[in-house]
Symmetry: C2
Subunit: 548 residues, 2 copies
Amino acid sequence: MNGRETQTKETETGLAPVPANFAPLTPLSFLPRTAEVYPGRTAVVHGATRRTWAETYARCRRFASALRQRGIGKGDTVAVMAPNTPPMFEAHFGVPMAGAVLNALNVRLDAETIGFILNHGEAKVLITDTAFAAVIEPTLAQAGREILVIDIEDPEAAGEDRERLGEIDYEDFLAAGDPEFAWAPPDDEWQAIALNYTSGTTGDPKGVVYHHRGAYLNALGNIQVWEIAPHPVYLWTLPMFHCNGWCFPWTVTAMAGTHVCLRKADAKGIYDAFADQGVTHLCGAPIVMQTLLAAADAERRPFDQKVRMMTAAAPPPAAVLAAIEEAGIEVTHVYGLTEVYGPAVVCAWQREWSDLPIERQADIKARQGVNYPVLEGLMVADPETLAPVPRDGETLGEVFMRGNIVMKGYLKNSTTTEAALRGGWFHTGDLGVWHPDGYIELKDRSKDIIISGGENISSIEIEGVLYRHPAVAAVAVVAKPDEKWGETPCAFIELKPGTAATEGEIVAFCRDNMARFKAPRHVVFGPLPKTSTGKIQKYVLREKATES
Amino acid sequence: MNGRETQTKETETGLAPVPANFAPLTPLSFLPRTAEVYPGRTAVVHGATRRTWAETYARCRRFASALRQRGIGKGDTVAVMAPNTPPMFEAHFGVPMAGAVLNALNVRLDAETIGFILNHGEAKVLITDTAFAAVIEPTLAQAGREILVIDIEDPEAAGEDRERLGEIDYEDFLAAGDPEFAWAPPDDEWQAIALNYTSGTTGDPKGVVYHHRGAYLNALGNIQVWEIAPHPVYLWTLPMFHCNGWCFPWTVTAMAGTHVCLRKADAKGIYDAFADQGVTHLCGAPIVMQTLLAAADAERRPFDQKVRMMTAAAPPPAAVLAAIEEAGIEVTHVYGLTEVYGPAVVCAWQREWSDLPIERQADIKARQGVNYPVLEGLMVADPETLAPVPRDGETLGEVFMRGNIVMKGYLKNSTTTEAALRGGWFHTGDLGVWHPDGYIELKDRSKDIIISGGENISSIEIEGVLYRHPAVAAVAVVAKPDEKWGETPCAFIELKPGTAATEGEIVAFCRDNMARFKAPRHVVFGPLPKTSTGKIQKYVLREKATES
């Protein structure tokens, strides 16, 4: 007998997984552990409501148990229409603890889109905050099949228009469940945990399916790239319906932190949470920073602790980054998409950069950066051949990602799934460059690029310049069709209160601060249309620019 | 067509893993990522030697490449006999990057045991520090098969007795490798990454097999339970041959920290590293604390930073804990075994405990604690029925663990593997109680283990040696509490009629027949207390040893 073969057999195949040494990875495992070890620590704060981890775990077990009593189980979709309130947080555990799949709905969507999502995802249960009755009611009439509707009556929603639509209230629903319910983790870590619809630039929204393994790993990835000591106090400014709050319902639970809920992310609410709850961490689009910086004196509150903020969705303008750091908030810039569980790329900070002038730091921080450790691959490459572009900071290519935090795929859309994952990489559709130091920088989303007289112009670059203008509060630049040049940049600008500027001044400012050919040819003043997550709705502006 | 079935099919089985969204978990993935993102940061410090992450990654690729040139690949064992020097660290990446399995040898073992391990593990390569030639040489003579021997000539070993045994020097071996070697991660995360021999209480040492998945998860588990911000400066006081340095070669690499090597963990070396390298983290048995506290003034150096230390093996006495924390070192107590990749249980600190008197804090911190988040299950239960004991802090039971950081099993020992993993739990063999707050506390090791200076010593092994002494009629070895070492072996001996022996003779006999550190420090002659059935009453002797 050959000794080598014996050993290979035993180390590699003879020692197969058994229940003692294998468990499917799932972020659900964080909850019982935190509830066991820190039963008395505060898990959730929402206005006057405070609940411990023991209470929260019992509520999630009731949640799962009550779903099972209604026949909900493995693979069933449970939709939730709610802002960042305790029920939305509890759904991140209660729904998958029943074996079901959480479909968190974007509360700013219209009835038609919500109706599409409920039908496409085949939701069997809809848990909906009574403030959204006007949008939800018509979708239920259209559904043409039975959906269990559960109303959330949030005590913090006083003053909002509310109406009950469902057969039972969320608290009554929970009360029927068993606080000791013996839920089971998934049999397979590849099992679906969540379904998140992308806003979709063309056609219908696409349903992105997450699995337990990916959610577990991205929850830990957040810990690796961000300074999160045990017991963070996390403020819910980022909507949980956006990539499951980038997996932070699970991350903060793993670290036995406190979830500070916030129905509405306004300046007063955020500053109050900083001062009263000792918030240490929050996430959000750059609009959250702008909200804080534009706050009236009466809304501001002093706070002592260091606050860390992760921001994504669009490269934060340099001027905004500089101002927010001066206000005592350390910003980490991340980048991702719904298809990769939220952030998968981080502008990892090099300590020596802290010695640079703040404007230079802001420029560096505006780059998207490098892969999360849990994302096994990141590259900028030719969209067709997948050949990496040179790391010269100039050659434009498409951003590609691969690894365990890439989605399972799109629900009921195998053609699009295969296209998105072809060649062993996830095709982000975003364009960028690769710098010599390995950091990627988005130069434009592919749909936003402005091609003028054969030259590529980055709308983001123009926006970066305009954010340095003293009168500019917010800006978006899009392509405007032009007979002569093909396209020209058109800037939409929201001015700060009490300031003024003319088109001529704005164009001159751009010409003084960047290559002249890149300066916008048209400037439109007025409020900018934004999505619920603070992203400026460029497609609306593109239509305006085309029409005008 | 039934809509439900369609959905289940697509979310659960239709979206199968593809290369874009699945990668085997492996701690090897941390190295290229850290080397890419922080190429210029210091990775390794050893005396006058400093290497960056770019250099370290290139050396590990050379290492893997050089092994492959010699025909070493998947499943082959590569043994390393070295203290905490750069080659030992590099082996944690270079060996598995070649697909091979790292077998780090305990440098304190005797030639006979080392010889057994090399043969049982079928090592094809032995990389050995020239200071251990006296132990290694006889093992090679016995091996009876070809082993590639590579010598490490450590420049920091000046003054030690050294001798070359191998055909090539480690640096020359690396030089032959390709610094751009295109290594591949394992095909399967269940593939073996390391082989670690337990000291074994009865019979031969057992070879514990680790897989990539478990090593990855425990490396991240260390980050979850300990405050490790990016870029820790980690001092290598804990031997890397103990459970792969409890997975910290991988943890510190994941966090892009600095590995500060240390050939010998003496007070001067540690204080110098604190002062000169800015060490932030270290691990080790309580003996390391006692070494620091007992240091002469000339060996001490002041340091400004906060230092965090993880300790295992035996809880530090209150006085030691108080003194070490006063010296600026925050202690975290963990517990584990070779079979669970090192620590799997942590005395997770509750903030309110910090307000208690230091003696009370020490009592609390002496408990082993709760499961790491990456260990899915921990309980104290009846050894036969596996029924959990009441959480009363009094009822004795065996400690059981389950989850992804439980070993694959014992090499070539399926009977023992099955016994150790039967019933869905790993049987630790350690006895303890379960407190009402869920923290476990070890009350005794059921297998007669003595933990001296962080090393496990089997009382049964010593007894086995002593029974070979011509004058010994009966012998029992128990642990005697010791301020410096935690515990030391104490031998109770009944002599044969008409014979005589002295304490010095007995100790010398042991030193000649086993690893020196295992020899008893105290010998007591006299009749042994026995039960009616003739069993030696060890608990009586334990009391005597404690009192004397």
